[in-house]
């Protein structure tokens, strides 16, 4: 087996330091440094102050990646999260406008997200033969449908009392609160996935679900927990989305599931399951965020930025295979 790092290049010695340098994470760190050097050269506005100021909008999606990584490691997928973000954000606005105190608004938002996750979890564990792609596609339509009905003909809602949302989008020094939260949760998620029994079971499910089940892993229980938490993460993301626009609309969260998956896959987490780790996902998330900010600061067309990220993704997925076949060719 190629170890936990999905993109580790064949025949790399398993010494941890060498693995870090020559493995996929090593490449990612180099790419991260490269992207930052490039952005600094490309944009005269690319500095720590602006980076920290612009980061929050993108960081909300990193919450999704943290749980999406678990789902991908299991070899599964959840494409309903963007819609969950939309529904949770809508409910957050409604709750806030109803005069409910802000701590309760936070709770309600997380709860709405969790409930959406729970619905996925219940369906997927009770009918475990159903493909997650199809189930979450259906719930995606349902969640966004509910949000659209609630939002009505105008298609958008805004919060009247912005104080609470202003508070969560504030900065400590010049560092936005959300960055601290992302780092804390990322460290926690990395430990759970990489160092705990729970994490090892997730890898076991992703490698061979049947074998995992026969060796006593409570497969359905673990899937249930992860899909539910995916909803909670979407609730958290929704909270910060509302904080950035003081409102929600029918397009809130569109495409977020794909962004989260892209971050994870670019980080070396294989969508076929069992491979990759959280560190890769986190580094790649920051690579994408830095690249988008750097290119955006020079008004590079939004579609062009997406195209560049798309090319990077394809390269990231294909690189290990290309290197592998090159190595074979050299050996011959």
């Amino acid at each position: 087996m190629a170890g936990k790092s999905g993109r580790s290049i064949n025949n790399v010695p398993e010494s941890p330091i060498k693995k870090l340098i020559f493995g996929w994470e090593g490449i990612l760190i180099l790419v991260f440094i490269g992207v930052n050097i490039f952005c600094k050269w490309f944009s005269e506005y690319y500095n720590m102050f602006n980076l920290l100021r612009q980061m929050p909008v993108y960081l909300a999606e990193v919450f999704l990646m943290l749980v999406m990584a678990f789902i991908l490691v299991m070899g599964e997928i959840d494409i309903s999260v963007g819609a969950t973000v939309c529904l949770a954000a809508t409910m957050a606005c409604i709750a806030s406008n109803a005069g409910i105190p802000f701590p309760l608004v936070i709770l309600i938002t997380l709860l709405v997200g969790t409930c959406c996750g729970l619905i996925n979890a219940v369906i997927l564990t009770n009918f475990s033969e159903l493909p997650p792609m199809i189930v979450t596609l259906s719930t995606q339509i349902i969640f966004r449908g509910i949000a659209e009905i609630v939002l009505g003909s105008g298609g958008s809602i805004s919060v009247a009392n912005t104080a609470g949302f202003k508070a969560i989008s504030r900065k400590i020094g010049s560092v936005p609160l959300i960055l601290f939260l992302v780092i804390i949760l990322a460290v926690f998620a990395a430990i759970v996935l990489g160092r705990s029994t729970f994490g090892r079971k997730v890898y076991a499910i992703g490698t061979n679900r049947l074998a995992a089940r026969y060796s006593g892993v409570a497969v359905q229980k673990i899937r249930f927990i992860i899909y539910t938490l995916m909803g909670t993460a979407a609730g958290l993301c929704a909270l910060f989305m509302v904080a950035s626009s003081y409102g929600a609309n029918t397009t809130t969260g569109t495409g977020f599931e794909m962004d989260a998956i892209a971050m994870a896959v670019f980080g070396g987490i294989s969508s076929t399951g069992g491979k990759g780790n959280m560190i890769g996902g986190i580094i790649s998330a920051f690579i994408i965020v830095c690249l988008r900010i750097g290119l955006g600061q020079r008004n590079v067309n939004g579609q062009v930025i997406l195209l560049i990220i798309g090319v990077l993704l394809i390269a990231a997925v294909a690189l290990p295979n290309i290197l592998g076949s090159l190595k074979k060719a050299v050996k011959k």
């Binding site: 612009q54 958008s156 626009s245 397009t251 569109t254 495409g255 008004n299 579609q303």
Partner: protein, 339 residues
């Protein structure tokens, strides 16, 4: 000596060019124009004329489009712009309220914020340039009806849906203006709704023709409605009903003409080129401190006249561009290439 002279002359020439280039009122200023999304031909006409007018005054104009037609994507664009610290941002907003936090941040950072085409809420902007006031549209349309009907007779309205806010505002304006004595001999027989669907609009037009044999004019303040009605009427050689309203020149090219072979003598739409130009000058006036966006202020645009800032329906302030542009046999071919 000759060489020295030529160097001197060239230097003078360059200096002369530079001073003439520096004569604008917005030299060295940076303005960012933010669209709703890329690929909107209608907006691009205004953007091109905004750019031309702004650059004519010596400003640098960056036209920026978000990656998607959403408020969230515009927030990312605004974040980028705040980093760049332009002198002003002029935006066509994808959402009325959602940009408030970012646009306030921009204004706090000393960036002037103007808007046109689609306004963000009053707290998010200093001034909005309105393509045409509701009353101005109503006035132009009722006068067109009056003219085409020869001052008297039956007319009808073909609208989009019964809930469309802008449609209803124009219809109400027309009804109110029609109370004037001048229009007393005009009789509005029905307001029909074609739901902005070509087939339904055609059916509704047919119903109007069947129900009111004496009908003289149909006014359709919607691009779908006017095209459907104009096509149906033009296909009936005996039908003398005239069509007017709000339409797109490229869609109305076939039906517009002063003779009986065409069903529509003329129609209206906002002048997007003028909108872009006026918005550019309004933004420059904000930068230069000639206006702050408060009600009652005014500024002059060379060749266009004086514009004053008035209270908008949403509680903010606006600059009303004026009358909509008339499209007739003389200008339609040229305008059809634009929109």
């Amino acid at each position: 000596m000759k060489k020295l002279l030529s160097v001197l002359l060239v230097t003078l020439l360059v200096a002369g060019l530079m001073t003439s280039a520096l004569a604008g009122t917005a030299d060295g200023k940076k303005i960012a124009l933010v669209g709703k999304s890329a690929g909107n031909a209608f907006f691009e006409i205004a953007a091109a004329s905004f750019k031309e007018a702004g650059e004519g005054e010596g400003a640098t104009i960056d036209v920026v489009y978000p990656e998607a037609a959403t408020a969230d994507a515009q927030i990312k664009v605004l974040d980028n712009l705040i980093s760049q610290q332009p002198d002003a941002i002029c935006i066509s907003a994808n959402d009325f309220n959602a940009l408030q936090a970012k646009l306030e941040e921009a204004m706090d950072a000393g960036i002037k914020v103007s808007s046109f085409d689609s306004a963000p809420n009053p707290a998010s902007r200093q001034v909005f340039v309105n393509q045409a006031g509701t009353v101005a549209v109503g006035q132009a349309l009722i006068d067109a009806v009056y003219d085409m009907a020869g001052g008297e007779g039956q007319w009808a309205i073909l609208s989009a849906t019964s809930q469309a806010t802008n449609q209803n505002a124009w219809i109400d304006a027309m009804k109110k203006l029609a109370e004037d004595e001048k229009y007393a001999k005009l009789e509005l027989v029905e307001v029909a709704y074609g739901d902005d669907e070509p087939q339904k609009s055609t059916d509704q037009t047919q119903a109007l023709l069947d129900n009111y044999p004496d009908l003289k004019v149909i006014c359709a303040p919607t691009t779908v409605g006017i095209m459907a009605a104009a096509k149906l009427v033009q296909d009936k050689p005996d039908c003398k009903v005239k069509i007017t309203g709000l339409g797109l020149p490229s869609e109305m090219l076939e039906y517009t003409g002063a003779d009986d072979a065409h069903s529509c003598p003329y129609f209206y739409l906002w002048d997007m080129q003028l909108l872009g130009k006026l918005s550019a000058y309004a933004t420059i006036a904000l930068i230069n401190g000639d206006i702050t966006g408060a009600e009652g202020e005014s500024f002059t645009v060379e060749g266009l006249g004086e514009f004053s800032i008035t209270a908008a329906d949403d509680g903010g302030t606006e600059i009303v561009q004026g009358l909509p542009l008339q499209f007739n046999a003389d200008n339609i071919e040229e305008m059809a290439k634009l929109y």
